[in-house]
């Protein structure tokens, strides 16, 4: 595994990150999120920065707000306070439609259950990402084919539900990096895989992100993952308060 650029991350907001927020792949400052009706914030994160192409593992037990954090970073939910910048762009300051377009172009997401579009082929899953990412219709087909081929998917016009679990994982990875994103967010990407497949999947995710220059923020509560990352952070330690999160969101 090649060495990744390291960024010091401090649980206190006064710490100075080694990468300025304007150029970091991800820069989080004073991020606070409370689910409606909750007594305490689910998430209260003073600072978290990722340099371009950096890979980081964020650990934390269930209910610690890991998935909530990823949704906040992706601009799918709004925080009560704080700022999230992706390549210098404050995602929550964007208008709704602009934010959606920005997410399609700059952020890739990988999920535990892959969340592929069922009924669509492998190629169409990747083409959908390219379409919403603003890639011209004429380029979508060939770009999707090249990407899937490079990941070893040959039967790319078969419906994804007819592919093996390993192939589905590859399609999910291909879709996440299709638009050459700045940042890839992986939410428990190996939780539903056995150890051997989990290792292969992580090899794939990390190498693909490395080769396309995307920063990777992987959240997991799997202890075996720590050895794969140079930088490993605990969400509980990063947080200002060790909040007990919203169960459903974690």
């Amino acid at each position: 595994m090649t060495m990744q650029p390291t960024i010091s991350v401090s649980p206190t907001p006064v710490s100075t990150p080694s990468v300025p927020p304007t150029t970091a792949a991800l820069a989080i400052a004073d991020l606070v999120f409370t689910y409606p009706g909750a007594a305490a914030p689910t998430l209260d994160l003073p600072v978290l920065n990722l340099a371009p192409a950096e890979q980081i593992l964020l650990t934390g037990g269930s209910g610690r707000g890991k998935s909530t954090l990823l949704q906040l970073i992706a601009g799918l939910i709004d925080p009560q306070g704080g700022k999230v910048r992706i390549s210098g762009t404050a995602i929550h300051a964007l208008r709704s439609a602009d934010r959606d377009r920005f997410r399609g172009q700059r952020i890739g997401m990988i999920f535990q259950t892959f969340n592929l579009l069922l009924g669509f082929s492998a190629r169409e899953n990747v083409m959908a990402a390219l379409m919403f990412g603003g890639v011209h219709a004429g380029e979508q087909r060939s770009r999707a084919a090249a990407l899937l081929e490079s990941l070893g998917i040959e039967r790319m016009d078969r419906p994804v539900d007819e592919l093996s679990v390993g192939q589905q994982q590859r399609v999910a990875v291909a879709r996440a990096v299709a638009c050459s994103p700045t940042l890839v967010l992986a939410d428990e990407p190996t939780a539903s895989l056995d150890p051997a497949n989990a290792a292969q999947a992580m090899d794939l995710i990390q190498s693909v992100c490395r080769s396309c220059g995307a920063a990777l923020l992987c959240v997991s509560h799997d202890p075996s993952m720590t050895s794969r990352f140079i930088r490993v952070e605990s969400l509980a330690e990063l947080s200002r308060t060790h909040a007990v999160g919203h169960g459903a969101a974690a």
Binding site: D100, N115, L117, L118, M127, A128, A191
Partner: protein, 431 residues
């Protein structure tokens, strides 16, 4: 890849639901179109029957009854006109034609009109179109008969066939039904020969048979004479008395000035004829309009029922999409993650609804073409009403647009649910 691909994939992934919803819309659209078409075609069929005549003169109780009996063969007229009265009428004005008609006999339930040769040479069953023969010729002597197009089809008669007429018109129009003529007298002493088969006109005359008035007078005079003297074996024209020479109606056409279809003395003649209390004068066009005014409430009721069926098909589109929303939470959330805006997701669902409506409408139009033919043949066989179920382009476009708008409205609720769907809830791992 474009939005249309996403919509198609979404529809095909729920194929059963999609097809049944489209079928529901198609049936509703077809029902509406068939009703609209039948209404128009029915009107045309009634308008065709009266041909180019201006007035129908009879002794019926009212002009409407006169038209229904004398042109559409609803019932044999009960009150006759004498031949002298006809001759007197014929001399009153310089008509283009004044054609006597006599109804009262039938063949296998099909009405037989006794008339003169002028019926074929002067009267036009459709204005501007003269009679055409599919086979044979018009009658030119007694005991010859000409058969209308649909009467020939349903009875199987051809040129050269010999038939016997029945006195009266049976209520049953079932051909080949032996009981149909029960209680009615068959004129077995006089054989008629089929000499011509008419080409279709699309009007009521297609289901009738035509013969000359003289032979009709003879067979009825024969019945009368036989009652007095059962030994009589035959009757000829020479045996006819004035009392035998009766008709039930007169088709008349006034002379119009060159270049005009409306005679200048139309109203004057009409008013003058109406003053004669011994006859009933009907303007067929006006009476048909009156008839449609009478049935328009029922007509409106049918259209309203079809409207309700269309509305319920719109609701079924909404329900199909609404019920799919729960299983599509994940798909919608993934689309949002990939960069689809809320508005775009709303548009995708609304467009899906419109496409279901559009496909349903197109299937409904195809279905209505088939349905129109089935309904037309049913009307022809059961009521003898010959109609041409041509779809009016205006009706098609109107129903198509109405369906698409209805489907668009039906899509609003499911699309709003998709618009407001929580991405985090949609992405939650299963189980």
């Amino acid at each position: 890849m474009n939005d249309f691909t996403i919509i198609l994939r979404s529809l095909s992934s729920r194929l059963f639901s999609t097809v049944t919803t489209i079928a529901t819309v198609a049936v509703a659209v077809a029902l509406m179109l068939v009703l609209l078409t039948m209404r128009e075609a029915g009107k045309k069929a009634f308008e065709r029957g009266s041909g180019d005549m201006h007035f129908l003169v009879s002794a019926d109780a009212s002009p409407l009854v006169s038209v229904l009996n004398g042109i559409f063969y609803a019932n044999p007229p009960r009150r006759p006109l004498t031949w002298d009265r006809f001759k007197q009428l014929e001399r009153t004005f310089p008509w283009t034609y004044a054609i006597p008609t006599q109804l009262g006999d039938s063949y296998l339930g099909l009405p037989v009109m006794a008339t003169s040769q002028e019926f074929f040479t002067r009267f036009q069953p459709n204005p501007g179109e003269s009679w055409a023969f599919a086979a044979g010729r018009a009658f030119d002597r007694s005991f010859e008969v000409v058969v209308g197009a649909s009467a020939a089809r349903s009875s199987g008669l051809g040129v050269g066939d010999v038939i016997y007429l029945t006195h009266g018109i049976t209520q049953s129009r079932q051909l080949g039904d032996a009981s149909a003529n029960d209680g009615l007298h068959v004129h077995r002493d006089f054989a008629y020969t089929v000499v011509g088969i008419l080409a279709p006109t699309g009007g009521s005359h297609d289901r009738a048979l035509f013969t000359d008035v003289t032979s009709t007078w003879i067979i009825h005079a024969h019945d009368v004479r036989k009652k007095v003297d059962p030994a009589i074996t035959t009757t000829t024209e020479a045996d006819l008395t004035d009392a035998d020479r009766k008709i039930t109606g007169v088709y008349v056409k006034l002379i119009a000035p060159p270049g005009s279809s409306i005679p200048t003395n139309f109203q004057q003649v009409f008013d003058m004829l109406r003053r004669d209390s011994g006859i009933t004068v009907a303007q067929p066009g006006q009476e048909i309009a009156t008839l449609f005014k009478i049935v328009s409430n029922i007509d409106r009721l049918f259209i309203a029922v079809a409207g309700v069926v269309m509305l319920s098909s719109g609701i079924s589109i909404m329900l199909a999409l609404y019920n799919s929303m729960e299983q599509r939470r994940r798909q919608i959330a993934v689309l949002r993650v990939l960069g689809a805006s809320r508005a775009r997701v709303f548009g995708l669902i609304a467009a899906e609804s419109v496409i279901i409506g559009l496909l349903g409408a197109l299937a409904g139009i195809a279905l209505s073409v088939a349905g129109g033919f089935i309904a037309a043949s049913a009307l022809r066989d059961r009521l003898g009403l010959v109609i041409e179920p041509d779809l009016e382009p205006r009706s098609i476009v109107g129903v198509l647009l109405a369906t698409v708008v209805l489907a668009g409205l039906a899509g609003i609720i499911p699309a709003t649910i998709a618009y407001r769907a929580s991405v985090s809830r949609g992405l939650r791992p299963l189980g």
